[in-house]
């Protein structure tokens, strides 16, 4: 018997996802945007686990592991991009300043 029912977990994950999305849209700092992205990914991962618990299927947990790996890769690539930009002498982490196709 799970602690949370499916409805409760759906509510929780959609709230989590909305928080992530809002963070993504309103923050300008690249690092915070990455964190918001991870929040959104984790929301979907939690939903997979909840669904797997509801239908007694291990695929949900397998999908969670995959999303974990995906999030790790995404974070590392994102951080690498930020480091690259920093190495080129860009003084800021503001995402809106990088809107021109010039490196």
């Amino acid at each position: 018997m799970p602690v949370l029912s499916l409805n409760e977990s759906l509510l929780f994950t959609s709230m989590l996802f909305s928080v992530g999305l809002a963070g993504m849209l309103v923050r300008r700092n690249l690092v915070f945007m990455l964190m918001s992205l991870d929040v959104m990914l984790n929301a979907s991962a939690v939903l997979f686990v909840a669904a797997g618990a509801r239908w007694h299927d291990a695929s949900g947990q397998v999908m969670f592991l995959m999303i974990l790996a995906l999030a790790a890769v995404e974070t590392s690539v994102g951080l690498a991009i930020i480091l690259c930009l920093h190495a080129q002498g860009r003084p800021t982490l503001d995402a809106d300043t990088g809107n021109l196709l010039r490196g």
């Binding site: 999305l21 809106d96 809107n99 021109l100």
Partner: protein, 651 residues
């Protein structure tokens, strides 16, 4: 073994040609001549072996050699395949043996020419192409040889290409024969559509079985006839052969007398079954032959160039053969082809030797009295002339001409065309032949000497002349009229199974055929033999003869009919008349389209303008969306997702 020997006969001259061409400038003249003679000699040897093998075999037996398959699609096939039967056996013997003698002669004749490698390359290539033509049992394969001999003829007529007149003569020969080649190809394609193959035997079998519609048959036969007429320089096409004398004399002997021009005769003899089914075409052929015979003989009578006399006499003799073919006496035509190859080659080679020793003098009126200075050549030339005139009993030409005349006498036409009239024409032609050739003999050899004579005849040139003299005198005794002796070896050779066709010719026709050449000889003696000065110089004074003489009448006619309209066209093109017409048409079109456009302008304009405005606005909107800001993109993604979800939920 026989079928192995057959491709070898073709391959030897071809290999010699390739060797000679590739080694141009690296081999000495003697070596080049040796290689060429060797190639043709091997071909002659294999031809003789093939002939003996074929004659030892069963009557009607043939030798097949299929080399490779050329084309195979559904409904049509063509192979490279050689077949040796009795007709082609006669032809390969003529081509290789006479060709060999001429090559031996030419090895000495051309020894001092810097282009000797090119010359012998072309000559041996010609022999190879001619053998392909003769041996092919597929008409498409035959066409390769047909074009090959045309090419070699072109190359050799223009051999001394420094003189523009020679290249013009070469081009003329090429164009004239090209007309015929095109017609021949049309005929072949027509046959191919009917028979699905161009193998000769199936086509002839289909013709005999009456499977080919008669209209198609007549059309195909006419096309093939036109091709043969052009190759053999018969009446509408006769103008190229006299000009072809611009080439070296051995070329004239080999190509324009002995072999290539007989290709048309051979083709029709080969397809005689096809022509027998089209009697109208046969009648046209006979009349054309008779007409050519007379016209060419008359033209030869007033020429003053030694080689041109022989050229016109070749045309005249080919007319004889076409007359025989048109009357259905194809054996007689082939027999005359064989003897003609011998004596005409002899005449040309002797003439070449005479011309060489006189320092390239070709005008017979500047010769004279040569019987004392070059007796050997005189004997050879007189032997050839006698054979050409057909002096009775002792020459080959007599027997072949008798056979033709007998065939013409005995022929039957469905059209109201009397065989006896044609026979009389042939007889008149024989008289004229004797007249013009002995005119030439008397002017050249009798009388007192003019002009200097240098050197002697080299042995390498004398030996072929002796061989050909022998053949020209005694080559004819294998076939005789019944009145003299019932010898029919040649007919028996060609159609071994069939009984020799009985020719019911009265004895007096043979007598007439024997007397007429003698009469011609006598008249020639009266006119040119004794009388000095006046008669001799006549051809240069009489206006009518001067008009008729160069045979340029036909050239002028052709010039007016064919060349001038083309010139007019060229003039029109140069003055940009078509261009102006086009410009006018373009102006008209433009004004019309302007008027038309005015009526439609408003609608189209509006549509176009609206389209442009909408496109511009759309691009502005898109450009504003693509602002490069990541957060905006994320917002678009989220918004799009929401819209998609909403659509899914609401629908």
């Amino acid at each position: 073994m026989m079928s192995l020997l057959l491709p070898l006969a073709v391959l030897c001259p071809l290999a010699a040609s390739i060797i000679v061409f590739l080694s141009a400038g690296r081999l000495s003249a003697r070596a080049v001549g040796g290689v060429a003679c060797g190639g043709v000699g091997l071909a002659a040897l294999s031809a003789i072996m093939l002939a003996t093998g074929l004659l030892a075999g069963p009557p009607g037996g043939v030798v097949h050699a299929q080399l490779w398959e050329w084309v195979r699609v559904s409904g049509f096939s063509a192979d490279i395949v050689f077949t040796l039967d009795r007709i082609s056996m006669v032809m390969i013997l003529v081509v290789t043996v006479v060709g060999l003698l001429i090559h031996v002669y030419a090895a000495r004749y051309m020894a001092d020419d810097p282009g000797i490698a090119r010359f012998f390359g072309c000559m041996t290539l010609f022999v190879a192409a001619m053998l392909v033509l003769v041996l092919a049992s597929d008409l498409l394969c035959l066409f390769i040889g047909w074009e090959g001999v045309g090419l070699c003829s072109y190359l050799l007529i223009g051999f001394w290409h420094d003189d523009p007149a020679n290249t013009a003569a070469a081009r003329k020969a090429f164009f004239m024969t090209r007309i015929g080649d095109t017609a021949l190809l049309c005929g072949l394609l027509l046959l191919a559509t009917q028979a699905g193959s161009l193998r000769i035997e199936p086509i002839l079998a289909a013709t005999m079985a009456g499977l080919v519609p008669s209209f198609t048959l007549i059309a195909a036969a006419s096309f093939v006839l036109v091709g043969a007429l052009a190759k053999s320089a018969q009446i509408p096409f006769q103008t190229w052969l006299p000009d072809a004398m611009a080439g070296p004399t051995p070329t004239s002997a080999l190509i324009h007398a002995a072999t290539m021009v007989t290709a048309g005769i051979y083709l029709i003899a080969r397809l005689h079954v096809l022509f027998a089914a089209a009697p109208v075409v046969m009648a046209v052929m006979a009349v054309t032959g008779a007409l050519t015979l007379l016209v060419a003989a008359c033209t030869a009578l007033v020429q003053s160039d030694l080689k041109r006399i022989l050229a016109w006499s070749t045309i005249s003799q080919l007319g004889y053969m076409f007359l025989a073919l048109g009357c259905g006496a194809w054996q007689a035509a082939l027999f005359h082809l064989m003897t003609h190859a011998c004596f005409k080659a002899l005449l040309f080679l002797a003439a070449g030797a005479i011309i060489m020793r006189l320092g390239h003098e070709q005008d017979i009126f500047r010769m004279g009295g040569l019987r004392r200075t070059m007796p050997g050549l005189g004997v050879a030339f007189v032997a050839g002339a006698s054979a050409l005139a057909g002096l009775p009993v002792v020459t080959a030409g007599f027997y072949s001409k008798e056979m033709i005349l007998a065939g013409v006498w005995g022929s039957r036409f469905m059209t109201p065309l009397s065989a006896h009239v044609l026979w009389a024409t042939g007889l008149l032609g024989a008289f004229l032949t004797a007249l013009y050739i002995f005119r030439c003999v008397f002017i050249v050899f009798a009388g007192e000497g003019k002009g200097a004579v240098s050197g002697g005849t080299p042995r390498l040139m004398a030996v072929p002349l002796a061989c050909l003299t022998f053949l020209a005198l005694f080559g004819g005794i294998i076939e005789m009229p019944d009145v003299i002796a019932p010898v029919h070896l040649f007919t028996a050779l060609l159609s071994p199974s069939g009984h020799p066709s009985p020719m019911h010719e009265p004895g007096w026709t043979v007598l007439a055929g024997a007397i007429v050449p003698l009469a011609g000889l006598a008249v020639a003696w009266v006119l040119w033999g004794r009388t000095p000065a006046v008669m001799r110089e006549m051809p240069q004074q009489a206006a009518i003869i001067r008009l008729a003489r160069p045979g340029h009448g036909m050239d002028v006619l052709y010039d007016h009919i064919f060349v001038q309209p083309l010139r007019l066209l060229v003039w029109l093109t140069r003055r940009d008349v078509p261009d102006r017409l086009v410009a006018q048409a373009g102006w008209l079109t433009r004004s019309a389209s302007i008027a038309l456009a005015k009526t439609r302008k408003d609608i189209l304009d509006t549509v176009a303008r609206r389209t442009a405005i909408m496109t511009a606005e759309g691009s502005l909107l898109l450009g504003w969306m693509q602002n490069g800001r990541v957060r905006w993109y994320a917002g678009w993604v989220a918004g799009g997702l929401c819209v998609a979800l909403a659509v899914v939920m609401l629908s």
